[in-house]
Symmetry: D2
Subunit: 489 residues, 4 copies
């Protein structure tokens, strides 16, 4: 999840000790949860190993072949039925166990980020020749979700209860909008509730949201000419890009203040002595309300077309990504929060403390927080209406297709930013692996609550229907384009 | 004529004494010319008086009611048939005398310029409350042309020769493109040659050209909104203007180097706290080749439309003026030049010298030239292919409708710029009036040569047909719009 | 007050009947208040007449000679000591009555707006030849404040209590920042509390705020040249303006979202054929936090200087206005609100209802509200931390110099915008005059509470000191410039 | 030489058969020239082989290690004294033979262009994995110059005359300004005349010029920030680039029309969700007058600094190249032209004709010319004052240090553009090699004339001194920077 949880870290520093709840005492875990937690603890080294394998694979979006295969292999061994290559994406899968209602889904991610290959050490040690790195901890993400699904399966099997668990193998979260294609394909249509989590630098289960996001590369084409000998014969594609940018910059005054628009010029010509026949600019636009976003986006497209007309160039654009804002579900978030408190945070060994301290020393002053925060759980807050952190995620689309709830756990040294070498390093060693297990346990316990208490699901669904609105009809922000399978190539 | 002769002054300082021709001896005037010159001399004070009356009227473009009426009255008195209000312009007229071929036309102008009301004194003395001033000497222009027409009539009458003389009363040269409507109306269709002249600060009859020019006001309309309370509801018309300008500025690299494009923002919003619902920018584009100009103009229009699209505004434009480049006629220019040499320049009295010296002292160093230059006549040069001065005139359109030739005379103190208080002052006293008589005499003598030597007309026509090209079809650059009769209101 | 109360109207439509308070019963007025209210009622026609005279004067900012003199004359008659021409402003005054503490100030305004001269009729009837109109109802503002001061004097005199009342005659609120010079001069240093009010289209006494505002004209100077003949010799001042605007438009992405920056081009060149030697752009910047505003402003200045450097022009700027945000005082607002409820709103006669209905029919759909709202008083709300309406006022500076509280009353037909012909019309007839008396009564009663209960003043001061901050040091946003006495000329 | 000769091809298509001179009969070669020409013919296959080796090396600017070594080796073998690594450039050299005056220099180049690796076949056949290609024929350039130097040496030796020949090994002509450093080092101080040539698609020895050129990368640095979460903390380096570009685009109106300014954005940010902390734009400016160029360049720098100031960024720039315009020497050009006529053009075999026809079929309509033009020699024209082709070359600096003259020969199929796959292919086979020998012969014969007729040198020097001006003092346009040895890495 891009930047979202990092920003939550910065915005919501209020933390309480898990064992000192402010308002309500955390109930002791029931027997089923005790069993599940114990089972997960017993398999710690297995799961740590799997997460480390994926960390080593460090495969970029839509190229997660080994990572996806490894997770599928585990799930098949545990008795899941696996549909691979769903939604036109070779590395996406859905693994199912059980029959009948309710159907609980769990999301798993496993793509790495370009340019963050670092060893799992507390000082910056780049790995030469390796393209990607797990700076967002998706190696932990996929593994914990798989672990939780397995534990839910164990309970379903042991209890003999009706119910189905599905784990969604979701590629290319980082800029690839992988889940959007899966939502568009209808893969969530029969699912009652979706659970997810995300690596982070603290433990919390707020009902938060994210920004809807649409992005595209605008490609201008002009006419090349020798820029000194016959510039009058040329039409500069770069002129088109700059004119578009100019009009978008003026537009900033005339959009809602909390809109976000940002761009980089990804191709600005080759050599100065040739009028550029091709130029490209990459735009993101975001707003917490996807309808506002769509109207702003239409105006950005108008700026592109106006720029082409005014500069004698041609333009076309490819929407590369588009995700909804997260529709928060407070009913589910409260359940998740209770289970997170029950599970508790991450306590470091002496070695881990040394590692964490060394990492922490690399932070700037404003970024430093006590590393013992990893053991805490944040108070619950309903963030549904608050200004968001600025981040976006393709979990957004899932949350409009099915009631969805998530948490984050302290897989990184408190104070770490997502997409940093520090988070990459921690994701590859025991600190990350311990945080991952907090997530696996909390997801499992939450699922158990939902299976055992259908009223919770009904309440969540009622809230979801009300928030989504009666007339809601899903249309992917990225339209009907095929998955951009080569966006990282 | 806007700026043209000023620039010629600066570019072509080479002057010779009229009495010292470099190559060919000037022949003595024949009897007819002697008679005409003597007649004009005898009526100096009448014509000086008429030019002074028009100087006092100082009527702006398309509002030259008294000036036009005064000239028409003179012409009727002299036996001309006057068609007034031609081409849909109340102050335009054509006055005709004689029958049969050849038909010689003479152009006359009489509009003043806004903001140049100055007394006819050698120091700057603004006339409070008067809107216009004759800073381009059109009071002299109209009077001399009328005087020449009268003298041609006298000769036609006395000689009994066949032939017709037409004087064209041409309003609104200064930005109004008056002659374009007259050309469009076909008023020059039966005329064989057109003569014109222009006040200036030296005497010369080069075969020069001018820039084709097209101009328009682009009016953008947006949506007003309180700029602090709800800027997102507004669409700034000024954004439209600035985006258009931006794209035109980038376009400068991609037009022929000798294109000229310039603009001012004539309306840029009212109060900063209101998003401007209206904004206006006034563009001129020029090139020596009107076809290049038209293709550049189309791109300027595209920039306007692209800007409107890209800023969520609407745009429309009104073409206010559009003139062709002058098609120079070397055959005719040589005839005109011979007659100018025969007539000679302007010699000052002691009082005029004092006036001129005082004026000259107000010039910057680079601008000063000997005031005795007023007595000289420039050597002839064929400037047809040279880079032009940057000026434009609606005589351009006439020159594509009929072979056309002109001269300038030293009606202003040498060194004076057109459109200055100095040229305004000189145009209202004897220096201007003497220069005017040089023009009247030269125009008359040139006309006499043409009536008496039809081969000259044939040669001029052959040159003209060749230069104009076989496929030429006149289309006014300002299209089919009606005269902008209120452009000075 | 520019736009502020209009926007409050739109943002806070919740109204309750004054006689149906939600939470607390309004106490009956005490004897002193009864006496004051009765006295004001008895002088209704006097005050209505004075407000009508000022409405007829319709004098623009810093030219309110007759209006100021009329108010001063009344105050002298009532025994006030008047200091006229304070703070370097001929039409500013301070009128004082009484001795000792506490010192209660009341603000009065009386400047008209350009371009809003309309008759006091329910259909749009412009008054030809009249420059200004009271579209913001300052004719009522000054009169009611004067009336309240007189009534306070009556009570001070009758009760024999210590205490001083000061009425501040404040010119040029509309864009002239008049009060800023008065604050800078120290005229509020010995005052304990300041009361003010503003005409509006509803009755309310919220603790609201406003935006700090700084504005200036940026004047660029280049080098004129003939734009066709020698553009390379010119340096376009308009280029400077457009480059500045461009950089400011890009800056919008990099300032806090709730900043407001808006501009109009007040001079964009004269004629297209001359490279503009002068161009001017008028900027406003606003933010609720004046320190953020100052840092943004510095960057706007940098954009101006950068633009001048980059375009070969020169720039200088004149800060025309600069006002602080209002520092709201909840303690005082609660007292004011109680008194407003006690006084009640405006009830229309049949004629007034007919007038109001006719006015209301001229409103767009979104703007219409029941005209009976004029009889209501809004519930109290603490708006201190809310996003503001987007408006700015020079009361802001007063509120940082002394604890300040205000109200608005329904002087205009409900739904009216400030600065409209509808508000101008109502300000000139009985509806406006009745609303004015609601203000006069509420101001008087509030003052009486404060004189009689010093603890209220202490509480207000404590709140004020806390909100202002320990290190606060007043520096006018417009620096040390002299009053721009000719800004409306 | 960048684009120069290509453009000459397009601009000056007038060709005459060498055997049909318009004005003067070409004298028969004297005995010395006959000997030299015969000697060169006899060594055709040696020189062809050397040029092919360099074609195969295809080494980019400042990395021409093998190419430079191969030429040096030949020269040493022939008895030249070689100074290698001159002017701080490892691949530059000066090879000298003989003693005493006059000293004739010959320039040789041998750098390849990036991205043009194509096989020597008449259809486009890229060579995978090869970085560069000889699309400007510098493999021929260096070889022919070396061959000429050797032949001059043979003559000096045989004749026993005093005199020195120097061959300058000049790296990195393509964008590296290699000769500028050699001029700056004073390597031409003792040389009397410099001869050069360039591959082309026709044979000619006009006295032409080129544009002075200065170029630099402007690097802006801002502050990174998450573009959605906290854009207000960021300062976009890309804003700096775009603001600079905007001001330069406006500047186009206000520089001499024949100035050329062009840019590409070489770095426009990384990811849209990060405010770019770094951005880079690469500018070229050119004018035929290097002083005009310098004043325009200063304004470009001002635009950069103004943009940085206005956008809150920092900027610095690195001048990568800077060359003077060529100072044409008509006296020398006439001598060169006579010798070129004497040598004659290139006649194709049947195989070469087939190759040429196949190449010619790949040209667009406007580009095609008769392939038999390769056998022709263009009439001589003095192009000193003409508008130039738009190209620039570091020969310019040499021509201000010493009287310099050049020619081009038809090494490429007539109609070919420089820097094309077609010119690359021809440079690697017999057509290019034959054209190269035309150059070697003409250079040799011209040198022989100069050695034998000192008056020619005196006349050339007089013309050169007069054109250069009395006050001339050389200052490299690229200042005192060290050679940009890594500009191609």
């Amino acid at each position: 999840m891009r930047i979202l949880f990092l920003a939550l870290t910065l915005l919501l520093p209020g933390l309480t000790l898990a064992q000192k709840p402010k308002k309500t005492a955390t109930p002791a875990p029931d027997k089923d949860k005790q069993t599940a937690i114990a089972s997960l603890d017993s398999r710690f080294s297995d799961y740590a190993g799997i997460s480390k394998q994926i960390w080593d694979f460090a495969e970029l979006g839509y190229m997660e072949e080994k990572s996806s295969a490894l997770l599928q292999e585990q799930l098949r061994k545990e008795g899941f039925t696996v549909s691979a290559g769903v939604a036109g994406i070779p590395t996406a899968f859905v693994a199912t166990y059980g029959t009948g209602k309710p159907v609980i889904g769990i999301l798993g991610e496993y793509d790495a980020l370009p340019g963050l290959a670092t060893e799992a050490k507390p000082d910056f040690t780049p790995i030469a020749g390796q393209k990607g790195g797990h700076g967002c901890g998706h190696n932990l993400f996929g593994t914990a979700s798989m672990a939780a699904a397995v534990e839910v399966k164990n309970w379903l099997k042991a209890s003999g209860r009706p119910g189905t668990v599905k784990i969604y193998g979701c590629p290319a979260e980082e800029g690839g909008s992988g889940k959007v294609y899966m939502v568009r394909e209808g893969l969530f249509n029969d699912t009652d509730v979706v659970l997810h989590w995300h690596p982070g630098s603290q433990n919390g289960a707020d009902a938060g949201t994210s920004l809807a996001n649409k992005n595209a590369k605008f490609r201008f084409r002009g006419i090349a000419a020798h820029a000194a000998a016959s510039p009058e014969r040329g039409r500069s594609a770069l002129d088109g890009v700059e004119a578009m940018n100019y009009m978008v910059n003026m537009m900033r005054e005339h959009v809602p203040s909390d809109t976000r628009i940002h761009y980089v010029i990804t191709k600005g010509g080759d050599a100065p002595n040739v009028v550029p026949a091709f130029a490209e600019v990459y735009y993101y636009a975001r707003h917490k309300d996807r309808e506002v976003l769509q109207s702003v986006w239409k105006r950005i497209e108008n700026a592109a077309e106006g720029a082409a007309k005014g500069t004698g160039t041609k333009v076309e654009w490819e929407v590369l990504g588009g995700v909804y804002n997260i529709l928060p579900n407070v009913s589910l978030a409260e359940v998740m929060h209770q289970n997170l408190k029950l599970v508790g945070g991450v306590t470091y060994t002496a070695d881990e403390t040394a590692f964490a301290e060394k990492i922490s020393q690399t932070f700037g002053e404003g970024q430093k927080v006590p590393i013992t925060n990893a053991a805490l759980v944040k108070d619950f807050r309903d963030q549904s209406d608050s200004p968001t952190s600025g981040g976006s995620t393709d979990v957004g689309d899932v949350s409009w297709a099915v009631p969805t709830v998530g948490l984050q756990t302290a897989t990184w040294v408190p104070g770490s930013s997502a997409h940093s070498w520090q988070s990459t390093a921690a994701s590859g060693m025991s600190i990350g692996q311990k945080g991952m297990m907090v997530a696996a346990k909390t997801l499992t316990c939450t699922a158990l609550d939902l299976y055992k208490n259908p009223a919770l699901i009904e309440k969540a669904r009622a809230e979801w229907l009300q928030k989504r609105g009666a007339d809601f009809k899903y249309e992917a922000l990225l339209g009907d384009r095929k998955p951009a399978l080569d966006y990282r190539k």
